[in-house]
Symmetry: C2
Subunit: 190 residues, 2 copies
């Protein structure tokens, strides 16, 4: 049971999130101001604070949506691929290249969201669990802890490549993906 008022409220909240993401990708996160967001939804600035405690919470909402999409991507490519590790790595890097501002908010910008804690949003946990599932299967890990540890490593390596590339620190080199997956395969077969 939702009232028209509640429906309008939720629609507008999603609009704010969508505009924040679009502006961030087009002009960077510094262009995402409360006044700009208010202008996009054709309201006054303080209305933003009816939906979000502060500016950081707007970013956090975009981040949660980003993790939900990343989880879907991981699950999709994990099932149908004959080379799950490579497929996973490429999906991850493609995600970072196609949504650089979103990726930046998810993984490098300071955030109000907590990770690996009690109050970690479900979207964030799900992404990690989806990763653990694929890595655990592919590398033949026995215990969950082993799979989780290897997943953290795999994630860190992928993130390192994505992050340094996005920040302009290293050029895009395709052979690094093969190197990473090859290493993990050799390592886990020992």
């Amino acid at each position: 049971m939702t009232t028209p008022r509640e429906r309008r409220y939720r629609i507008r909240e999603q609009q704010i999130i969508d505009h924040a993401r679009r502006i961030a990708e087009a002009e960077g996160w510094s262009a995402v101001s409360t006044r700009r967001l208010a202008q996009e939804i054709d309201h006054s600035q303080p209305v933003i604070y009816q939906h979000f405690r502060n500016r950081e919470h707007v970013v956090a909402a975009v981040v949660r949506q980003g993790f939900a999409e990343l989880t879907e991507l991981i699950r999709e490519h994990a099932q149908q691929a004959d080379a799950p590790l490579e497929s996973l790595c490429w999906s991850y890097l493609n995600f970072s290249w196609q949504n650089p501002a979103l990726y930046e908010a998810m993984f490098t910008r300071p955030t109000a969201l907590e990770f690996a804690a009690e109050n970690t949003p479900a979207e964030l946990r799900d992404s990690f669990e989806a990763l653990v599932e694929v890595i655990g299967n592919e590398a033949g890990m026995k215990t969950y802890d082993d799979a989780a540890a290897l997943t953290e490593f795999f994630w860190a390596a992928c993130h390192g490549l994505a992050s340094l590339h996005l920040a302009g620190r290293i050029p895009a080199r395709q052979d690094q993906v093969a190197r990473l997956c090859g290493m993990i395969r050799i390592y886990s077969s020992e």
Copy 2:
């Protein structure tokens, strides 16, 4: 031949850089404002612009100094260690833990500095070259390109661990260092 005026100018410039770094480590980069910096050196705000084109160039100056220190660290630990890879990795991670704000500016924050380009400052090139030297020797790479490619990978993996840990995305796990170095050793002996 330097005039007293030039000496004073350079001393003050270094003071600005030092204060920027100290404030960033203590209160985060958002606390590093031009007015705050001016206050620290007991001048008015526009004086900062006598030394730096804008705020970003202050950060860039701190970053260059950071890379110079990182290069020293790499060179030190590379010579005297009996396990250069592990030592290098730990040095790198320690550097990121002891100077989180500096590391953030060097590797994740958007910056005016260009990497791997013609106008890349010498401090940045030197860090990479120092890394290539150690990795190339340790992994027994024949060509410089091979060593450079493996160095990029090693760097990305270390950075991934450092970055995700600093951003609160993964807990600090000591076994990841051993995993990374073990993988590279196995991989390069094939």
